[in-house]
C-alpha cells in the first residue's frame, strides 16, 4: 500500500525492493537461527513496538534533509519533551491527554524556533540545531535531574502494550504518520514547495516559492514528529530519565540515508526510511539474540551509514558522467 502512495519518480528515491528483501531475508535467517522463537507472536510484537520510534525519528530527520539541512537536536528535543510530559503527569497530576497535547505543542514550538533561527541567522540548520541541542540537554536535566520519573499514568503504559491482531498500536500509529507524510509530499502544494526549496533554492525563489516558509515548515514538521516520537516513547517505556533521546541521533540519520534520501536536499523517501528503520531494528534484534555487546550495534550502523553515503555519491557521479557522455 505504501508503494501506491509514492507516485512515479517525482523527487522521490526510487521505490526499489532492495531494502524489503534485505529485511525479509535477514528476519528469516535470524528466525531460523533462533529455533523459531523469533517467529512467535510475542517476539514479533516486541520487534514492531520498538520499531515505531525509530521510524518516526527517521522521518523527523528526513524532512529536514529534504531542504538540504540537518537537525542535530532531534534527540535532545525528544528527551526534553519526554521529560516535560513525564514530570507534568507525575509531579503535577496533569491528565494524560493534556500532557500529550502540551508535549506535542512544545516539540512543535521547538521545531518552529529552529526554523526561525535558521531563517534569521541564515546559518545552516546544522549549526543552529547544534546550539539548541545543547540548550535542550540542559532543560532535560533540569526537569528530571538524575532521577527516573516513572509515577505517570499506567493507562498510557498499558496502551503501549496493546495491539490489534498482534500488531502493536504504537506501530500502527507510526505507519499512519508515515502515510500522512507521504500524502503531504506527494499530493500537496506545500509539500512540493518544500522539496523545490531543497532541490534548488534559487530556482524555487525565482519561481515564486518562499524558501523562508519551506525552511520553517520543514523544521516545524520535524518538531511535530519528534513530539509524536516522544509520546510513543513514554508509552513504551517504564520510566523517563535524562538518558532518553541520547541514542536517537545516529538512527535518525541512518534510516533516511539508507532509505535513499540525498544529503543535498530535494528528495524524500518515506517507504525507504520506514524499511531502513526496520533493517536497523534487525541489527538490534540480532545483537540481543547473540548477546553481543551493545557497542556492536553502533559499530555496524556507523559502517552501514558511511558505506551508503559513499555508494550513493559514487552512483550520483556515475549517473552524471553518463548524462554527459550520452548527451555528447
Amino acid at each position: 500500500m505504501m508503494r501506491d502512495l509514492i507516485p512515479g519518480r517525482f523527487a522521490f528515491g526510487k521505490t526499489n525492493l532492495t531494502l524489503p528483501t534485505i529485511l525479509i531475508i535477514g528476519y528469516v535467517i535470524l528466525a531460523a537461527d533462533s529455533g523459531g522463537t523469533l517467529l512467535s507472536k510475542q517476539a514479533l510484537r516486541g520487534i514492531l513496538a520498538y520499531l515505531a520510534v525509530p521510524i518516526i525519528i527517521g522521518l523527523a530527520q528526513m524532512v529536514v534533509l529534504a531542504i538540504g539541512q540537518m537537525n542535530l537536536a532531534i534527540g535532545a528535543m525528544g528527551g526534553a519533551t519526554c521529560a516535560l510530559m513525564a514530570t507534568l503527569m507525575a509531579d503535577h497530576q496533569i491528565p494524560v491527554a493534556l500532557a500529550l497535547i502540551i508535549g506535542l505543542t512544545f516539540a512543535t514550538l521547538l521545531g518552529v524556533i529552529n526554523g526561525i533561527l535558521v531563517v534569521i541567522t541564515q546559518l545552516n540548520g546544522f549549526i543552529i540545531t547544534l546550539g539548541t541541542m545543547t540548550i535542550l540537554l540542559g532543560v532535560q536535566y533540569r526537569l528530571v535531574r538524575s532521577f527516573t520519573v516513572d509515577k505517570y499514568s499506567s493507562a498510557l503504559q498499558e496502551f503501549g502494550q496493546q495491539n490489534i491482531a498482534g500488531v502493536p498500536y504504537l506501530f500502527i500509529i507510526a505507519i499512519a504518520v508515515a502515510a500522512v507524510l507521504s500524502l503531504y509530499f506527494a499530493k500537496t502544494a506545500s509539500g512540493r514547495n518544500l522539496l523545490a526549496t531543497g532541490g534548488n533554492a534559487v530556482a524555487a525563489r525565482l519561481s515564486g516559492i518562499s524558501n523562508v516558509r519551506s525552511i520553517i515548515k520543514a523544521h516545524l514538521i520535524s518538531g511535530i514528529l519528534v513530539g509524536v516520537a516522544s509520546g510513543l516513547s513514554i508509552a513504551s517505556l517504564s520510566g523517563i530519565n535524562r538518558s532518553i533521546g541520547g541514542d536517537w541521533l545516529l538512527p535518525s540519520f541512518a534510516a533516511p540515508i539508507i532509505g535513499g534520501v540525498l544529503l543535498s536536499g530535494g528528495t524524500v523517501a518515506i517507504f525507504g526510511t520506514v524499511m531502513a528503520a526496520g533493517v536497523v531494528r534487525l541489527v538490534d534484534v540480532a545483537r540481543a539474540q547473540y548477546s553481543l555487546d551493545p557497542s556492536w550495534v553502533n559499530f555496524v550502523l556507523g559502517i552501514i551509514v558511511l558505506s551508503t553515503v559513499a555508494l550513493s555519491e559514487w552512483r550520483k557521479r556515475r549517473a552524471e558522467e553518463n548524462r554527459i557522455t550520452v548527451r555528447a
Partner: protein, 506 residues
C-alpha cells in the same frame, strides 16, 4: 622570425546539442598582445577552457613551446606556463596580497612557508607589473581592479609564458583599464604572449597587435595583424554578414491603449536610478546595454527580489507594489526566465513535469492544498507539445535535456503560469545557431499571442532582430527608448554611439 609560443590547429569540441568549436586555429607569438574576439556563444570561453585545462578538445593539435600538449586539469596548464585571469576572481579573500600572489607554490624552507622569500617574490612580481600594493593588505580590502593585478602577479610568479585575460575590463573603470593596458604592454615587452578577450572593440584596437575572431565555433579570422582592419570589418567578421542583415519584418504594435507595464522614475535598493520605460501587450522590448549595466538586476527587482524605493510602477494602468516574488508571480503575472538556467532556472534532478508545474501548484491546489498529479501532468504535457520540447516523457529529468530544450522548459513554466509580462534574460547564450533561430521565432510567436516581452540580451543582432523598441541601459539608468527600424547597421551604430558617449563622459 620568432617561433610561436603556442599553436592550436583544427580544434573541435562538442557538447550535448552544441558544436562549441568547429575548427579553430590560433598562432600565438611571444611578445604580442593577441585579441580573441567573438560574440557570446561563438566559442571563446570553450577555447579558453581548453587552453587552461578545464576542458579537453575532442580533436585537434595543441603545441606549447614546441611540445604537443593536452592538459587534463587546470593545474597541468598552470605548471606548463599558461596563466589565466578569469572573469570570476580566484583569490583567497582572507589571505594577504603576498600570500595570494604565491598561492600556487608558496616558498618553503624546512617545510614551513618562508614569509621573507614570499614577500620578496611577491614584490618582484608587482615591480615587474609596475604597480604598488601593500603586500600585507588582505585581498578583501582591495578594489576589483587591484584584485585583477594580484591575479596577474600570481601568473608572473609561476613564470607564465602565456597570459590569458578573460574580459578583464568588464568590471573596472576607464582609468584602471588604462593602467591594466600598461601592465599588458610591459609583459609583452618582457616576451610574454598575452591573450586578451574583450567585447569592447575600442580598447582592443588601442591595445592589441594581433586578432583572432571566432564565429559559431570557427576561427573566421586567424591570427591576423589588427592594424590591417577597420573596426567595421572586424564587426562583420564577428557577426557574419548574413546574420547581421537577417531581415525580420517590422511588426505592427497597437500602442494606443495603456501599456501592460510602465515604469516611471524607478529607483531600486541596488542602485537603479530614474529607470523609465513601458511595454505593451504583444510587444517585444529589448533592454540593451554592456555587461554590468544593471539589466538583469532590474528584472530581478521587478520580480520582487530587490526593493523598489521610489518611482511609479503601473500594471495595465494601475499602480502596483511588489513585496515578494509571490506577489509578482501569482498576483501580477510577471515572470522571469533567468540567464543562468542550470544554476538558477531548473531543478536539474527533478523531472520535466515538476520543472514546468512549479509555478502553478498554488493555482491548481484543491481543498487542503491537495494537487492532482493528473492535472499537473496534463498542463505540463500541453506546454511540452506547444513548445515542441524534445523529451521521452514528462518524467524525464531536466538535467538530461539539451541546452535548447532546457531553455524551453524554463520558458514553459511561465506560460503555464499564464504570465502576462515576461522578462527573458540572455535566452540564447550557449545555444547553437539553429536552435537560436527557432527560439527567436518562438519569442515572436508568444508576443503575437499577446504576451508583453522584455528581452534582455548582450547580443545586439538578436535585440535588433526581435525587439520592436530598444531601451538603452547604462550604469543602472535607462538612457533612451529607440523605435527599432530593424536595419542593423543604423541601429547598431546609433545604440553604440549612445553608449560610447556615456562611457567617455564617465
Amino acid at each position: 622570425m620568432t617561433e610561436p609560443i603556442l599553436t592550436a590547429h583544427n580544434l573541435f569540441k562538442a557538447f550535448p546539442g552544441v558544436r562549441a568549436l568547429n575548427g579553430v586555429n590560433l598562432t600565438l607569438l611571444p611578445g604580442t598582445i593577441h585579441a580573441l574576439l567573438g560574440e557570446n556563444g561563438a566559442g571563446k570561453s570553450t577555447l579558453i577552457k581548453i587552453l587552461t585545462g578545464l576542458y579537453q578538445a575532442d580533436s585537434g593539435e595543441l603545441v606549447l613551446a614546441g611540445r604537443p600538449f593536452d592538459f587534463k586539469s587546470p593545474h597541468e596548464a598552470t605548471v606548463a606556463g599558461i596563466g589565466v585571469v578569469h572573469q570570476e576572481r580566484n583569490l583567497v579573500p582572507n589571505f594577504s596580497v603576498a600570500e595570494n600572489i604565491t598561492l600556487q607554490d608558496p616558498p618553503r624552507s624546512f617545510g614551513v612557508v618562508n614569509k621573507r622569500i614570499q614577500r620578496e617574490l611577491a614584490q618582484q612580481a608587482l615591480d615587474t607589473l609596475g604597480v604598488e600594493l601593500d603586500l600585507s593588505d588582505k585581498v578583501t580590502d582591495l578594489s576589483v581592479a587591484q584584485m585583477q593585478l594580484v591575479e596577474i602577479a600570481k601568473a608572473l610568479v609561476i613564470e607564465s609564458k602565456v597570459l590569458l585575460l578573460d574580459e578583464p575590463t568588464a568590471s573596472i573603470t576607464e582609468v584602471e583599464a588604462e593602467k591594466l593596458f600598461d601592465v599588458c604592454r610591459r609583459l609583452a615587452a618582457h616576451g610574454t604572449a598575452v591573450i586578451f578577450v574583450s567585447h569592447k572593440l575600442e580598447e582592443v584596437f588601442e591595445l592589441c597587435d594581433v586578432v583572432t575572431v571566432l564565429r559559431d565555433g570557427v576561427s573566421v579570422l586567424e591570427s591576423a595583424k589588427l592594424s590591417e582592419f577597420t573596426m567595421d570589418q572586424i564587426v562583420d567578421f564577428m557577426v557574419g554578414r548574413q546574420f547581421a542583415h537577417r531581415i525580420v519584418s517590422k511588426r505592427d504594435i497597437d500602442r494606443s491603449g495603456t501599456p501592460a507595464l510602465r515604469l516611471s522614475g524607478i529607483s531600486t535598493s541596488i542602485g537603479h536610478r530614474d529607470v523609465s520605460f513601458d511595454v505593451y501587450r504583444g510587444e517585444v522590448v529589448g533592454l540593451y546595454g554592456l555587461v554590468g549595466a544593471g539589466r538583469s538586476e532590474l528584472a530581478r527587482a521587478l520580480l520582487g527580489l530587490h526593493p523598489i524605493i521610489s518611482g511609479q510602477l503601473e500594471l495595465n494602468g494601475k499602480a502596483i507594489r511588489i513585496k515578494h516574488v509571490r506577489d509578482a508571480v501569482h498576483k501580477h503575472g510577471i515572470g522571469y526566465v533567468t540567464e543562468n538556467r542550470k544554476d538558477e532556472g531548473l531543478f536539474l534532478d527533478f523531472d520535466v513535469r515538476t520543472n514546468i508545474a512549479v509555478t502553478i501548484w498554488q493555482k491548481i491546489a484543491k481543498r487542503f492544498g491537495r494537487i492532482s498529479v493528473v492535472d499537473e501532468d496534463r498542463i505540463a504535457s500541453k506546454y511540452v507539445e506547444r513548445l515542441s520540447i524534445k523529451v521521452s516523457s514528462t518524467e524525464q529529468l531536466a538535467g538530461q535535456l539539451s541546452g535548447g530544450n532546457q531553455q524551453k522548459v524554463s520558458l514553459a513554466r511561465w506560460l503555464a503560469a499564464e504570465t502576462r509580462i515576461l522578462f527573458i534574460d540572455e535566452p540564447t547564450v550557449g545555444i547553437d545557431v539553429r536552435t537560436k533561430a527557432a527560439f527567436h521565432d518562438l519569442i515572436l510567436e508568444l508576443a503575437d499571442q499577446g504576451l508583453a516581452i522584455v528581452l534582455i540580451s548582450s547580443d545586439l543582432p538578436e535585440v535588433v532582430a526581435l525587439a520592436d523598441r530598444i531601451v538603452v541601459v547604462h550604469g543602472y539608468r535607462t538612457l533612451e527608448t529607440i523605435e527599432n527600424d530593424k536595419d542593423y547597421p543604423t541601429m547598431s551604430k546609433r545604440i553604440m554611439t549612445r553608449i560610447q558617449s556615456m562611457t567617455k563622459a564617465a
